[in-house]
Symmetry: C2
Subunit: 334 residues, 2 copies
DNA sequence: TTGAAAGCGCTACCAG
DNA sequence: CTGGTAGCGCTTTCAA
C-alpha cells in the first residue's frame, strides 16, 4: 500500500497520485476519478513520515504541559486542538509532570518530530532550553515564562494582579492570618507564584501574618499541604491557593478537620476551571481565559498565514476575580 | 543539521554516525567520541520521520479516547505512557469527543503515523472500523468493545457485575425508585451501559420504579441530566451514574435543588477516580483499576517482547464496590 | 495535464 | 570496525 502501487493500479505516475491526494487542481477529472478509485480499492493509507520528509514541512503542532491531570492544561489544549483541526493541523501533547529532565526529553522529541510549532505551557524553563529553542528556529510560544524574541512568542497572564485582587479582597473582609498553598516549581527553591504572594502581602497587607505550604500540584497535594499547614499550629483565617485544582484538595482536608468554609476559614482558588463551580462550597477564584490562551497560542504558531499574530510578540491577559461561596468575612473572635 | 553534516565533520560515514546514535556496540571508542563531539558542536537533532521511514518501524504508540476531560481516560493514559517511556516508546493521544467522524479521522491519522500499536479507549466502535483496523495488521487493543481476533486484543471490565453490585446494594438499603444518569453513546439510541442498568433492575429488582436520563459526559452533563430528571416529576431515592465525573455534576444539581445526599437521595458513581474522594459528599462508587488497564494495554501492544500478552487475547477485569458517603438508607416516608 | 527523476534524512545490508 | 549504497514513501521541479 504505497503510492506506487496505487499509481500502478490507476495507470498513472506516482506524481499524479500525489497530486490528487493533495488536491492540486490540475488533474483531469477522469484521471482523478481513476486514482481515487484505486485508492479506495487498495484501502491506501498515506505514510505521514514519508510525506513530512519529502515535503519538508509538518502539519503537526506540539504542546508540552506540566500536568495534564490539571484541567487547566486540558482546557488550553482543547482550544488549541480545535483551532489546529480547523486549519488542518494536528497537535500532539506531552506531559512533563513538572520534571526538568522530562521537559528536556519532550522538547527534543518535538524537535525530532519537526513540529510546525511548539507551545510550552510549563511553570519554569531553563534558560539554556530557551536558547536551544530559539536556535531551532521553529515557532515557539511560551506561557508565563521567558521573554519574547525572534521565533519565541509569549502569552502570559497578569498573575500578580490576580493575587493582588485576592489578597485585597480578603484583607477587606478582615482577614489578617493568611496562608498560601502552592506547588513545586521546576527550578529554584521558591516558586514565582509563591513569591508573588509574599510580596503582595507585604506591600498591600503588611500587618498580615502569613505562611506558605507547598506540595505536588493536584487534589492530593492540596490536601497534604493543608494538613501540614494545620499541623504546624498556624491557624489561617484564609487560604489562598495557587490554583483551583489544589484548592479542591484543600477544601477536603479542611472538611475533615472539622473546619467550615467559609465560616471558619475562607479559601480561594485560581484559574476558574469548571470544577471550581462544582465543588462544595463553590470556589471564589480568579478567572483565566483558557480558551483565549489556546487561540492566542495557535495564532502565535502559525508561520505566515495572513493576519495572524507575528512571532516574537508578547500578549498579557488580565484576570478577573470571581466571587463564590468559599470566602466570607473573618470569623468573629469569641 | 543532517547526519551527513555530522559525518563530514567527524570525518566518518553516515553509517557510522547512525551506529553511534543508535548505540550499536561495534564502534571504536575514539570514533564514537569524535562523532559525539561533532553531534554536540552541531547541535544535531535527528529527524524522526526519516528514521521511521528508513527503519520501517515506529517507536510511537497511539491512544484514542472519547473524552480527555474525564479523569478516567487521563489515568489510563498516564499508566500507559509510563510503561511506554520505560521501554523507549512514546504515546500520542487523540481525543474524539464522542464524535464518530473524529474517531475515523483519528484512526486514519494513527495509521498514517504508522504507530507501533494503537489503543482505542472509546465507548462504541463501528464494525467497519474494526474491520479496517484488523486489516491494517497493526497491534490494536480495544477497551470494552468488540471481540478479539488476530491483531486485535481486548481489555474490558465487568461492567454488568459492577452495576449489579450497585443496584443490589441500593435495593437492600430499601431503594425502590431509581434513576440512571448516562451519557450519549456514539452509536445507537441506547447506550450499552444504560441497557445494562435497565436489565439489571428488571432482573434483580423487578419492583423498582426507574427512569433514565442522558446527557454529555461531564460535570455539566450530569447536572443537566439531573435537572431534566427532576423536572419530569420523577423523584428517585437513588441516582446511579454511569461514571464519577457525571456524578459530581449530579451532586451539584441536587444541592441546588435543596436535596440532601444521602438523606434525601443516594448517588453512586463508577470508576473511582480520584475526584470521587474529593467531592462532597464523597461518592460511593465502583472501582475500576485504571493503572492495570494501562499496563495491560501496553502489554497487548508490544509486538514480540518476551513474556508479554499475546495479541488477539481478551482480559476481563473485575470491579469492586467502594462505599462512601453518598449513599444511605431510603428516606423514611413521613 | 502528466511523467520522470531527484532528493528528503536515515537505516541496514554488504563489502572490505 | 567502517564505508558505500540501496532504498523507505512521498513531494516537487523540469520537461514533455
Amino acid at each position: 500500500m504505497s503510492l506506487e502501487e496505487v499509481a500502478k493500479r490507476a495507470k498513472v505516475s506516482t506524481a499524479t497520485v500525489s497530486r490528487v491526494l493533495n488536491n492540486i487542481e490540475v488533474v483531469r477529472g477522469s484521471t482523478r476519478a481513476r486514482v481515487l478509485k484505486a485508492v479506495e480499492e487498495l484501502k491506501y493509507q498515506p505514510n505521514l513520515h514519508a510525506r513530512t520528509l519529502a515535503g519538508g514541512k509538518s502539519r503537526t503542532l506540539g504542546m508540552i504541559v506540566s500536568n495534564m491531570e490539571n484541567p487547566f492544561f486540558v482546557d488550553v489544549f482543547r482550544a488549541l486542538d480545535a483551532d489546529a483541526h480547523a486549519h488542518g493541523y494536528e497537535v500532539v501533547m506531552a506531559n512533563t509532570d513538572y520534571r526538568a529532565e522530562q521537559l528536556v526529553a519532550s522538547i527534543h522529541l518535538m524537535i525530532a518530530r519537526r513540529v510546525a510549532g511548539l507551545a510550552v505551557i510549563v511553570s519554569e524553563m531553563d534558560s539554556s532550553l530557551i536558547q536551544e529553542l530559539s536556535e531551532s528556529n521553529m515557532p515557539v510560544v511560551f506561557f508565563d515564562v521567558g521573554a519574547p524574541r525572534k521565533n519565541l512568542s509569549n502569552v502570559r497572564v497578569n498573575y500578580n494582579r490576580g493575587i493582588e485582587r485576592v489578597v485585597e479582597y480578603l484583607y477587606d473582609l478582615g482577614h489578617r492570618r493568611m496562608a498560601f498553598v502552592g506547588h513545586h516549581p521546576t527550578l529554584g527553591p521558591t516558586s514565582l507564584r509563591e513569591r508573588t504572594f509574599v510580596e503582595t502581602v507585604s506591600r498591600h497587607a503588611p500587618n498580615v501574618e502569613w505562611r506558605t505550604a507547598v506540595d505536588a500540584d493536584g487534589l492530593e497535594g492540596g490536601r497534604h499541604a493543608t494538613r501540614e499547614l494545620l499541623h504546624s499550629g498556624f491557624r489561617p483565617t484564609a487560604i489562598i491557593c495557587v490554583n483551583d485544582f489544589m484548592a479542591v484538595g484543600v477544601l477536603r482536608e479542611l472538611r475533615e478537620q472539622g473546619l467550615r468554609v467559609p465560616e471558619d476559614v475562607s479559601v480561594t482558588g485560581f484559574d476558574n476551571i469548571r470544577l471550581s463551580e462544582f465543588c462544595h462550597p463553590q470556589l471564589t477564584t480568579v478567572h483565566i481565559p483558557r480558551d483565549r490562551i489556546g487561540h492566542l497560542v495557535f495564532e502565535s504558531l502559525m508561520p505566515d498565514q495572513s493576519r495572524t499574530r507575528p512571532p516574537g510578540r508578547e500578549v498579557v491577559l488580565d484576570t478577573e476575580l470571581v466571587l463564590r461561596e468559599s470566602t466570607g468575612p473573618v470569623p468573629a473572635v469569641l
